[in-house]
Assembly symmetry: C2
Homo-oligomer: 517 residues x 2
């Protein structure tokens, strides 16, 4: 795609056709400016097959807001729509509707509340709440879901990988395997979720992060094709980057060529007063090789050099490597904890694609309609009880227990404030038999999660820096119960309703069932 076409393909037409056909229908019925509320939420945590997330990291809001601020119906878009035809060849979109889009087809009428980026978020909790005129609240859906689903998916994967590596340095290497330009959004989300740096130069620049990377196998191969050796390739690298010398040691033979050659070059560097950075292992048994590498580097007097691991890593592979090192390293006289402390993880494909679960099923559901002076909650009754969205205007609260850990997210009606309640009744969202009662003494904090972001077309939210978002993520993950944080078979975090919201939902379900009979 040429950049001239990108404005069309990535602007306000970055949406599904049915949003436009529905918008015209609402226009025709006089419903297009009726105020409605849509809730954005996901129903299930990513399930990677052999393992599953117990929480997600919210991400994508800033880039979605950037999109909203620029997307509008300009003449090229309107002209294109005017040329669309139906089956009989007549125009699909009528001039009066297109004219309405020309005059009102922006997001000026919308109001958005959202949970900030970097926060731990849970299934069935409204992450983004959109209110405003029906037609535009509908047209914004696809782009909202695209932006927020993907970045939340990748931030979540990054948080898991970061956690599995015990918080050691995590590098995002996935640009070549990312989904087209979406790889840039993936890099941003990875940084939010737990990656410390990325190899992706352009987006690192935009985000203000120094990109990371040294050299590929091809460099060693090139030297060898020209009749030189791996050692000469390493020496050349050390000469150009004496203070940033990290060498990839598996092009020929890791233990018998790569590491010995790297150590020779490191010794030469040290004699010239430079500090070598480390080595990278990109193939073979990474646990075994890192133990041997640590031993060789220690013996040569380089105990502080990093050992970067790469090659199809993800959270379970890293967990296994660390487990194997813990068990095997002592046998070779290597201190496992010291070794684990010098590891760096370069993670590509499996982070940038969220391997195992490459999509988050975030949805955008109509929950209320403003009619005759009041908000009417909406409900879709073909869903199972568990799938039925929670109706109407809601607030979201996070409850912290005595230890200061998050113990539940509570959805309330918008005139309820659980901070003023003596005891909290936490109702299960669909099972009438399940509820918990918490007394004030069991609670250390009750925190509202949704913030005002966009009011009547204006950005009212001060966008936090990536550093602030990362700090929020770190704080939130630290306040999770270890069981919820577990990589495999996590404990289910409670998302509950207040008694009044529960009662409203039951009443609506009954009345909808009656009507449909």
């Amino acid at each position: 795609m040429r950049s001239s076409e990108r404005q069309i393909a990535e602007g306000i037409l970055f949406t599904d056709q049915y949003q436009l056909t529905m918008a015209q229908l609402y226009y025709r019925m006089g419903l297009h400016e009726k105020r409605v509320q849509f809730d954005h939420f996901f129903r299930q945590y990513p399930d990677y097959g052999a393992h599953q997330a117990g929480y997600c990291i919210n991400a994508g809001l800033e880039w979605f807001l950037d999109w909203m601020q620029e997307a509008r119906f300009r003449e090229p878009e309107l002209e294109y729509l005017s040329k669309q035809t139906g089956r009989t060849g007549s125009p699909l979109f009528a001039p009066d509707f297109l004219d309405w889009l020309r005059r009102h087809g922006s997001f000026e009428g919308l109001t958005i509340r959202a949970i900030p980026e970097g926060r731990v978020v849970h299934a069935n909790v409204p992450l983004t709440v959109v209110q405003g005129p029906l037609a535009m609240a509908q047209i914004v859906e696809t782009s909202l879901l695209n932006h927020l689903n993907f970045q939340t998916l990748i931030a979540t994967k990054a948080a898991r990988i970061h956690d599995s590596g015990r918080g050691r340095l995590l590098l995002e290497f996935g640009l070549r395997r990312g989904h087209g330009k979406g790889a840039n959004a993936g890099t941003r989300a990875a940084l939010i979720g737990g990656a410390d740096f990325s190899s992706n130069v352009g987006v690192s620049h935009v985000l203000g992060y120094p990109p990371k990377g040294t050299h590929a196998h091809s460099m060693v191969q090139l030297f060898m094709s020209l009749g030189m050796s791996e050692l000469e390739a390493f020496r050349a690298y050390a000469q150009v980057y004496p203070d940033d010398c990290l060498l990839l040691v598996d092009t020929i033979d890791t233990l018998h060529s790569g590491i010995p050659n790297a150590i020779r070059v490191f010794e030469e560097l040290r004699r010239k007063g430079h500090q070598p950075v480390g080595i990278r292992l990109d193939s073979g048994d990474l646990a075994y090789l890192s133990i041997q590498a640590a031993k060789m580097l220690d013996e040569a007097g380089f105990p502080d050099t990093s050992i970067v691991l790469s090659n199809d890593l993800d959270e379970l592979v890293i967990l296994q490597i660390i487990t194997q090192i813990s068990q095997e390293a002592p046998r070779y006289g290597v201190d496992p904890d010291r070794l684990i402390g010098r590891l760096v993880y370069g993670v590509g494909t499996r982070l940038i694609t969220s391997w195992g679960e490459p999509a988050l099923g975030g949805v955008y559901k109509l929950v209320a309609v403003y009619d005759q002076g009041r908000w009417i909650p909406a409900i879709k009754i073909s869903d199972s009880a568990a799938k039925t969205p929670n109706p109407g205007h809601k607030l979201v609260w996070r409850i912290y227990d005595r230890r200061g850990n998050a113990t539940a997210d509570l959805l309330s009606l918008d005139d309820e404030d659980p901070r003023r309640m003596d005891r909290l009744v936490l109702r299960h969202p669909s099972d009438p038999m399940m509820f918990r009662v918490l007394s004030r003494e069991e609670i250390t904090e009750i925190e509202p999660l949704l913030v005002d972001v966009w009011i009547e077309g204006k950005l009212v939210y001060e966008l936090p820096s990536i550093e602030e978002i990362r700090a929020q993520r770190q704080a939130d993950v630290a306040r999770l119960d270890p069981g919820v944080r577990r990589l495999v078979n996590p404990h289910l975090y409670h998302v509950s309703l207040t008694q009044r919201l529960w009662d409203l939902k039951q009443e609506l379900l009954r009345s909808a069932m009656d009507k449909s009979r």
Copy 2:
């Protein structure tokens, strides 16, 4: 990301940092303009877990070439690089190197041959061959892999889904679950591989395809929240789109509300002289419901309306639906073949993300270096025999058997022409015991696959239209052996070497082994 930042993030810095650090090293060593060859290929077909591809559909070239034509080092990029620092705080990139990038940092020196888009392609066959000055041939790697890996991945998935649906209409619905802006590239690839239309408005416009879509559950819900009924919602839709009336029938109860209401509206439309289009089923047992829907529509006199199926479809789900219909439909007096013939598939998440295998492991390997007046093949010996890339300059030929089916892809040296050989010896790429001999009579056609695309910085290739690419895909898939085309456990397609290429590879391996000892 704001559009002003996009130029940085999606331009020439849409690459990995190590490409730039290696480029500077080559500059420093005087090697940056040495001519080299890199081959781009994939080693394994996508493996979706319970099923695996036996072929891929090549895609992504045009958008990669678009990128190449626009990407260059401008002042903002050079200024950014000049500000990057190493560990000691001194600049990472020196002024003389940046000046070289300013003057020569374009793709003008590159020459690219490639297999066209839409062609069936196989593992270990060079899909794209890049020759040119080392520094720029290295810098282009990341973007080349990003563009070609992703679109080939999605075109392949689309071809499988299209095949499983017996070639019936396939709609791409994945924008909300795609990976950010990469969803647009995914839509293009889906259209190449087998989707007929997409819901994605913007990119459909850019590609010249009418986008498809009608309405969502939210439309019916909205009407109901306002005290109206599903029937009234359907009527409103039919009134606005009398000739394009396709109704989503599962908001309340598919069999007892949705379909009967749709039929009432269809009857009203018919009385007014309009032809209703059909219904969409988005939940429940799609096989069972489509049989019942067909029966009800037939009985009401609408035997030609479409039945659109959606909801987490992929090739195996569609295969199962069709199998179930074949077995169950007769029991209800419904002709299964007629029913299968009126089905339309709307496929979202599992197509746009290539569910089960969300990345194609395409690689870009140094295979030759031009030195002292001749090309020297390069080899990386730490790889296993099966993983060792085929060295040097090569041509790619497709051999068709007596039935006109593709029976093997043959890699030859660049001065070999198998069309002039009396008999062909097809050597297995790594196993010395495996080879086939084909006589002239067993062969109906030998076709070269690589075409000149980009010569010394100029696009020399007339880019085919999407329609032409689709026709190529259709022709190539039709000439596959049914065993290779199989969805599950496909037969392995032969990719072979000529005797001379085999001999060269063995010789290089021996000499590289000797050198590394």
